[in-house]
């Protein structure tokens, strides 16, 4: 439980705001980078594995702390302050981006993808206490929500992968640029060191800080008389505290003054080609000391051979491991004899060799002497081949998280084919076998529309809003056809306008097919074309009808006879709206009733608009409506314009197709009711 700092209420783990007073809940714990245990925010060391939680460096004062730019609750994000004008070179920001993705988060908050890796796969979404009665999944009111409980993605194994645990820099503000002065030395290595002297190293280490995982491979460079140094590189120190005596004799002379934590390169990656001074025989050579001449491979140094022959009995049954051939080949050795280099005599660097003499050539740039490449010795060639072999081996990485290949839902192709075949069959059947299953129904709205159009005096001009394009033409042509035909028969003069780019072209096609005598076209029909801008365009065109150009003839509208005497919507006897979308109907009804409330408005709409259009019908704003193919068929039956044959085809096909889909829905319901829910 998390206790709210303001009102003390106990809130559930992981909630971001207090349930009682709503104040944001501060971070409630620090996760130990080594063992993952959660520690109270105040801890310096982890309770379980005593690893240091907060690095020893100075905590940046308040104003330097990067202010959280986007306080995104629920998603714990490494937020990076926006650096004005880009920060340094591009490679640095990319490095920062990768380092940030790997480095742990400042307040101990772990990004969900990682939290999933460490914590057992639990619900990661920040749960807000959902009130009992309010439905968890919005429609699952009577029964458990159908949301698939088990996430499809197989939960990633909970244990932190080994490579990630090592890579994590110890918790604490992970500013990658600021080199941590001293990597937290693991427990077992700390014991081998001399208990840290009070004097913290004044001179910051010259070499670059060695990352944690690399430090483990090195032998502690600070041998002290009491704690001898294990002789061989790479041999990890015995875990128990006391040092076996076989080890003690290999103890090297105190080379480095106590207290200096100079970090030497871990493995003797010594550039033996450089003119390193030959260490005098008297000082027992330590493999890692830079200046020690390494005997050529095959020829064992006498101190090692002595140790090998002696095989001191008290080894406690430990047979001295003989060095395998491939490791010996890797053993570096001195290539050329190097001349003597005087050791330093005084100052705190006394005893060190190979130091740059003060004054001589310090100002000279360190140029490498170009040594002519001699024929590489067979050993070097062998080493190179071995390295090449290692590199050419395929990279063994953790099994790549293959893209979760989407599983195909069961019976998908089968149900798709079944529905397709039945649907096409139902549509084609009336063409093969002459059916007369369905006849045009009697629709009250069509009756009123027919009556309104019937009493229209001859010669009145009618404004037609053509709000459909080619995609809806197959349905809307059959809805609008009889209505337009009836208007033309009544002697009305049509003024066509559209707020869709494709409207005028589709209008031309239908008007041409429905006008009995094409020569009467200029007298009967004026197509004013496309008006951009939904409601604003409509308002504009209602105010000024004859100011536009007629599409089919290209003449200005004033010269077209069909629109003579009509300047605005005030001069129009009726408005017909042919709408395939509910919005278009609403826009036209609002604008026309606003501009001229008493003009009769009728509509021819698609089936999908029928549900939204009934309020206008009941409110009296629209006098009559013909909706969908059934409406068109009913109107055609009353008008009998000779298109009856086509309507019969359409009606039967549509009726059968609807029956087919209804049957499919019921069958599907039974199948999947019995067959079981989605896995």
């Amino acid at each position: 439980m998390i206790y709210c700092p303001k009102c003390g209420t106990a809130n559930r783990q992981g909630s971001k705001f207090c349930n009682e007073c709503g104040s944001p809940l501060l971070a409630t714990g620090l996760r130990c980078p080594m063992c993952g245990a959660m520690n109270p925010t105040g801890n310096l060391y982890c309770d379980r594995c005593h690893a240091r939680l907060i690095p020893a460096e100075r905590v940046p004062p308040e104003e330097e702390k990067p202010e959280r730019v986007s306080p995104l609750k629920g998603i714990s994000l490494p937020s990076v302050p926006v650096t004005e004008g880009g920060s340094g070179e591009k490679w640095l920001s990319e490095l920062r981006a990768e380092a940030e993705e790997v480095a742990p988060l400042p307040e101990g908050e772990i990004p969900p993808w990682l939290a999933e890796l460490t914590a057992p796969a639990g619900p990661t979404a920040p749960e807000v206490s959902p009130p009992e009665a309010a439905v968890p999944e919005w429609l699952a009111e009577l029964e458990a929500p159908t949301v698939p409980a088990a996430p499809e993605v197989p939960p990633v194994e909970a244990a932190v992968p080994e490579w990630l645990a090592e890579l994590e820099v110890p918790a604490g503000p992970a500013a990658p640029e600021a080199p941590p002065p001293e990597a937290a030395v693991p427990e077992w290595l700390a014991e081998l060191e001399v208990p840290a002297g009070p004097a913290a190293p004044e001179a910051p280490p010259v070499e670059t800080p060695v990352p944690e995982w690399l430090a483990e491979l090195e032998v502690s460079p600070r041998p002290s008389p009491e704690a001898p140094v294990p002789p061989l590189a790479g041999v990890s120190a015995p875990p128990s505290g006391e040092i076996p005596d076989w080890l003690r004799e290999f103890q090297a002379a105190p080379l480095v003054q106590e207290g200096s934590s100079a970090k030497l390169p871990p493995i003797a990656l010594v550039d033996t080609a450089a003119s390193a001074p030959a260490a005098p025989e008297s000082v027992p050579p330590v493999l890692l000391e830079e200046e020690t001449p390494i005997p050529p491979p095959g020829e064992i140094p006498d101190w090692l051979r002595a140790a090998a022959e002696e095989a001191p009995p008290e080894l406690g049954g430990l047979v001295p491991a003989e060095i395998p051939e491939w490791l010996r080949a890797l053993q570096p050795r001195a290539e050329a004899a190097v001349e003597e280099e005087p050791a330093e005599t005084e100052g705190f660097l006394s005893g060190l060799r190979g130091l740059l003499p003060i004054g001589r050539g310090l100002d000279m740039p360190a140029t490498a002497q170009p040594s002519l490449p001699r024929a590489p010795s067979p050993a070097a060639v062998a080493r190179a081949e071995l390295l090449q072999g290692l590199l050419s081996r395929p990279l063994m990485t953790s099994p790549a998280v293959e893209a979760r290949e989407a599983y195909r839902p069961t019976g998908w192709a089968l149900s798709r084919l079944l529905v397709g075949v039945i649907l096409l069959g139902a549509i084609l059947l009336p063409m093969l076998v002459r059916l007369s299953l369905f006849s045009p129904p009697v629709v009250p709205a069509v009756e009123t529309l027919f009556a309104v159009v019937h009493q229209l005096p001859s010669g009145t001009s009618v404004l037609v809003a053509w709000e459909y394009g080619p995609a809806e033409a197959d349905e809307m042509d059959r809805v609008a056809g009889p209505l337009i035909d009836h208007l033309l028969r009544q002697g009305a003069r049509l003024v066509v306008v559209s707020t869709r780019p494709e409207g005028p072209v589709v209008a031309e096609a239908l008007l041409a097919s429905r006008l009995a005598d094409p020569s009467e076209r200029p007298r009967r029909i004026a197509n004013l074309g496309y008006v951009p801008g939904q409601a604003a365009g409509v308002r504009e065109v209602l105010g000024n009808l004859d100011g536009r150009t007629e599409v089919s003839t290209g003449l200005p509208a004033a010269q077209v006879e069909a629109i003579a005497g009509v300047h605005s919507v005030a001069d129009v006897g009726m408005v017909v709206v042919l709408a395939a979308q509910p919005d278009d109907l609403r826009v036209w009804v609002e604008q026309v009733s606003a501009a001229r409330p008493d003009v009769p408005i009728v509509a021819g709409v698609s089936a999908r608009v029928e549900l939204m259009s009934t309020p206008y019908l009941t409110a009296g704003q629209i006098r009559g409506i013909v909706a969908g193919l059934t409406g068109g068929a009913a109107y055609e039956a009353k008008l009998d314009t000779g298109w009856g044959r086509e309507y019969e085809y359409y009606l039967n096909s549509l009726g059968l197709a609807q029956m087919a889909v209804a049957a499919l829905a019921v069958i599907g319901a039974l199948i999947f009711l019995v067959g079981g829910r989605k896995r």
């Binding site: 303001k6 705001f17 349930n19 007073c21 709503g22 104040s23 944001p24 306080p71 995104l72 609750k73 629920g74 998603i75 994000l77 490494p78 990076v80 302050p81 926006v82 650096t83 880009g86 591009k90 920001s93 981006a97 990004p111 969900p112 993808w113 990661t124 979404a125 920040p126 807000v128 206490s129 959902p130 009130p131 439905v135 968890p136 999944e137 919005w138 429609l139 929500p145 996430p151 499809e152 993605v153 990633v156 998280v401 293959e402 893209a403 979760r404 989407a406 599983y407 195909r408 998908w412 798709r416 394009g469 995609a471 939904q534 409601a535 979308q581 919005d583 999908r608 549900l611 939204m612």
Partner: protein, 243 residues
């Protein structure tokens, strides 16, 4: 039509919004009920980062400048709530828009997310795709993308009608988990039987509050509830003939 009622509604809404904004500043942020369509998006984003394939957003064809503007803006804010997380994971989602006015606004969402992260040059403007002007053509184009691109999850949020069924059909065919938020009735009729977590009608506008959880988003949901009760009272008064 008298203009008193619209003024009354807008003024009351403004006053309620300012009052709740003050309460939110004092820490009293209302907790909202959970909406599965949005609550699982952050986790979905994590999985998508793991699998390396992006999440696909279908923003619909609601033109900015028309009366569908605010549905598209709510959808953009939901995507913006996820943009910072997506950018932090390095997988920036693919967004398909059906109206040209949405192209600049959608690109800005990700460009600013990369700017906030400090690496503006990693912004790839082609992750916002303008597909087709006509709604049905847009839906068919998006369905083709969903069928053939490597995507991890599909989120449909915005202004669409029943042609949205083309997109959810394609995503269901590939077994891709989907979240759908639609506010138009034909779309809701087509989306209810689809294989998707549904947020219906007004719940689309709760998307930003659930994904980004900023105080003023949660506050405005509380205002919607306040207005809801006022309208219920108005309806009851009208039924009793007192208005």
């Amino acid at each position: 039509m008298s203009l008193i009622l619209p003024w009354l509604l807008i003024v009351v809404a403004l006053v309620a919004l300012l009052w709740i904004a003050l309460r939110a500043r004092r820490g009293r942020i209302p907790s909202t009920r959970s909406l599965p369509a949005f609550d699982q998006l952050p986790a979905e984003l994590g999985h998508s980062a793991e699998s390396g394939s992006p999440i696909f957003f279908t923003l619909g064809s609601g033109a900015v400048g028309s009366d569908r503007t605010l549905t598209s803006i709510a959808a953009l804010e939901t995507v913006e709530g996820l943009a910072d997380a997506a950018v932090a994971y390095g997988t920036s989602p693919v967004v398909a828009v059906g109206d040209p006015t949405l192209v600049p606004l959608a690109e800005d969402v990700f460009r600013r997310a990369w700017n906030r992260r400090g690496t503006p040059e990693r912004h790839d403007p082609t992750n916002v795709q303008f597909i087709g002007v006509h709604p049905t053509v847009y839906a068919a184009g998006v369905a083709d993308l969903v069928l053939h691109e490597r995507i991890h999850g599909h989120v449909l949020i915005g202004s669409m009608d029943e042609e949205a069924a083309l997109v959810t059909h394609a995503a269901e065919g590939r077994g891709i988990p989907q979240s759908v938020a639609a506010d138009r009735l034909p779309a809701l009729g087509a989306m209810y039987p689809a294989d998707a977590r549904l947020a219906a009608g007004e719940e689309l506008f709760a998307g930003p509050a659930r994904v980004a959880a900023l105080p003023w988003y949660c506050g405005s949901l509380r205002v919607q509830d306040v207005l809801r009760f006022l309208i219920v009272a108005f309806i009851l008064l009208k039924v009793l003939g007192l208005w």
